[in-house]
Symmetry: C2
């Protein structure tokens, strides 16, 4: 099936008209149908074309969400949940129109249970908002996709980021959820406990379901004590492969590194220019160690030996807290920085993840492919997890170039899958990677479809994402 067909969802004009009338009546100013607002809510940060919803509800409570879902369910109209719109695979597009459900006003931190190392938040709370709120508790929430995403959206896409190598992804860090299901009922997936064997794990079924099985209305996340000591910095390597091999050894030796980011020379150049940094414009590892004073020293010493073995160095320490903040802000802003490498171009997001033993090989083959294809395509990676992003910068007005880049992306995804890897480590399937899900998991996708049909029989929850239209 061609991409355009995979993304197609029939419009139910009659139902949409009915719903628009009802929601206007019910939500007044909190329901918007102006073109600007609608376009903003189909904002996609990559080259996937916009598909605007017909209207946007600004929900303030679970009851609002339930009301919208019930109304849309009655008239069989799509509902597309919307957090900060920073997802990368067209998740917030409305291929069959319908209602965008904006949860940004559901931004209350409902509870911080410091003693239990957890917090309960509404879905519109962003990761930075939560960490600011936690400032005086000695605790933090580690998951950090580049953007200041909403925690509801992060749960929906099973997001992670630079810390996942140590703290895990949203999969490991969501203890429980509440969600409004397709029939309008709100459920609690689990009690607020560290472990449970009470029936099917609906928490983790909803985490990563991209709004297609239920609308998340609160998230209970794990928190961690801010480590006594943090150290880190940037270490250059002669080749990207050498850096990748240093990562492999770090992981295999069990060094509990908190962050170990691979950044190629081109990506360092973009960051330096955009964020006013001056790191060596060669392949680098950006690393951070968390622990006790002694523990951090020990980790740094062991890592130093590995660096030496692979011809890396010298290490640029970011000792002061503000230097570290600058370093990681630079890393988080990479997506913005990358535009500077080719002004006017758009980015195609990629997100392969392979077993760590194949990481250097996958990176090396991909580098050759970039060169042979003649692309401007920086590479950054959450390398401790075997996950990396190649971001080709594309002139979308040039169909031949788009075709060449798409062929490259295709080779990249298939390369990762052939190495027992996945086409997506953390971005999700959305519209953009739908084609690869079947190539990656085969008949398993049929069973995903059965679950979707069972929980959302009328296909109103974010239709046309993850699974091909029925």
């Amino acid at each position: 099936m061609a991409l355009a067909d995979l993304q197609a969802v029939d419009r139910n004009e009659e139902g949409i008209a009915a719903v628009l009338g009802i929601l206007k009546q019910r939500f007044g100013e909190r329901f918007q149908t102006g073109e600007t607002v609608r376009r903003q809510h189909a904002h996609t940060t990559t080259y996937i074309p916009h598909q605007s919803p017909d209207g946007v509800v600004f929900a303030q409570s679970s009851a609002d969400v339930q009301e919208v879902v019930r109304c849309c369910a009655e008239h069989r109209v799509p509902i597309i949940p919307f957090g900060t719109g920073t997802s990368l695979e067209g998740h917030v597009n409305a291929p069959g129109g319908g209602i965008s459900l904006d949860v940004n006003q559901m931004n209350t931190i409902l509870a911080v249970n410091a003693e239990d190392l957890d917090a309960v938040v509404q879905p519109g709370v962003t990761r930075e908002q939560l960490n600011t709120h936690l400032r005086d508790t000695g605790l933090f929430f580690p998951i950090d996709p580049g953007a200041n995403a909403s925690i509801g959206g992060m749960a929906a896409t099973r997001a992670s980021g630079t810390n996942a190598v140590r703290y895990g992804t949203m999969r490991e860090n969501v203890l429980a959820l509440t969600a409004v299901m397709a029939d309008g009922r709100e459920i609690t997936t689990s009690k607020r406990v560290k472990k449970t064997s009470a029936g099917y794990d609906l928490t983790r079924l909803l985490v990563g379901s991209e709004g297609t099985l239920g609308i998340i209305t609160s998230v209970t996340v794990k928190l961690y004590g801010i480590p006594q000591a943090i150290s880190g910095g940037v270490c250059p390597f002669p080749t990207l492969e050498a850096a990748a091999n240093a990562v492999i050894m770090t992981i295999q030796m069990g060094i509990p590194v908190a962050r170990i980011e691979l950044v190629n020379g081109l990506a360092v150049r973009a960051m330096n220019a955009y964020s006013g940094l001056d790191y060596p414009e060669s392949p680098c590892l950006f690393v951070e160690f968390h622990g006790s004073d002694d523990g951090v020293k020990e980790q740094a010493r062991m890592f130093g030996e590995i660096v030496e073995e692979f011809g890396g160095g010298p290490f640029h320490w970011a000792t002061a807290a503000e230097d570290r903040a600058k370093l990681w802000k630079g890393r988080h802003n990479f997506a913005f920085a990358a535009f500077g490498l080719r002004p006017g171009a758009k980015q195609i997001a990629t997100d392969v993840c392979v077993p760590i033993s194949r990481f250097a090989e996958c990176i090396a083959e991909t580098e050759r492919d970039i060169e042979e294809t003649g692309l401007i395509a920086p590479i950054v990676g959450h390398s401790g997890d075997g996950n990396f992003h190649v971001t080709p910068l594309v002139n979308v007005e040039d169909p031949q170039e788009v075709e060449r880049v798409e062929a490259f992306v295709d080779r990249l995804n298939l390369r990762a899958i052939a190495m027992e890897g996945t086409c997506t480590g953390e971005h999700g399937i959305g519209q953009g990677k739908m084609r690869y899900l079947g190539l990656e998991l085969g008949a398993t996708v049929d069973f995903m479809g059965k679950i979707k049909a069972a929980l959302d029989p009328d296909n109103i929850l974010n239709p046309g994402k993850i699974l091909p239209p029925r």
Copy 2:
């Protein structure tokens, strides 16, 4: 609904007769219908009555499993997967008869990917078998329910054990599964990667599904490097509540303890007698620290300060490896040891788990309840996770006593649920806890039922477990 009704599944006599004939023909000596074998396969380690299957297939391959499932699917006959039979909630019972699918001969370790810190095993591989196999690699598989359970069974019940406080449960430690679904197709839930956002998390949906959604045919598990240093021992406390409070502080201070087991005086007495130990017969914590030489010393020092604060000590160190082995073997054999407290009695397994902030309170109220009810009921707990087991020893010939104990268990489960906890931290729902699942999660259970109906429309996969009969 009464327990007996919850456990009832109608027998399909005609289908069963047909399947018995076909399987005999096909599997010969690997299909058994003798009463002894059938009874062994409905072995339950608690007081839940036996319900034997009609026959037992000894599967040797995924193809065998597929053949049995296809045959049973055609004739709508129940299939009950069987590992080591050490589950505690009647999981292997056959309330509607049918075929027990014994996977003990599927006991091949398919791959050890030392570089990726994972292994792929058939479902009949036991945890001890895997660890013996790993002996020379410097790696180990941490999850340790008391019994030497099969890894397939451990995945199916979302098992954990003493190490979960540090290494997580099967939820966190299964990277991927293969499973034969109700229509006989075998699926792979995920690629062998540390993280993925590729569609619905069927890995974690199957983990903990107790054989009701698919028959697990292989499990990819995480491995860990054996820590450089291990230390630990036993520390007595004046009261169980004091011990529980010491646990809470240990967790809240973020000491990365590898094991922290709460054992009350009665339980220590049972272990001492059964395993030839001589620990103080008062409330104790059994602890273990993993890390570098310095790290372990630091953890022990910090823990020592907490012990002092709560009036505990003196600490009995188990320094030599054989002393540690003896200590943990004693702990793992607790279930056998407990029978010694009341010869001839049966055990009722309980498994509540609460947020750590409520742990001491829940333990204290439960201790009072045990005393007021006049039970012989030792307590052991994976206290770092807020999970503990009270194990009343019951004369099942005395209906009044059974009633009294059941009322106690009822209070215990409801107490945990009222404290935002669960009735089961690691044993699963099976038959025994079905009644509490609805009390704990309400309408959520309906959605579990929808998933079950979608993936197993004829209700042939371990029917009458987790969810009430349809």
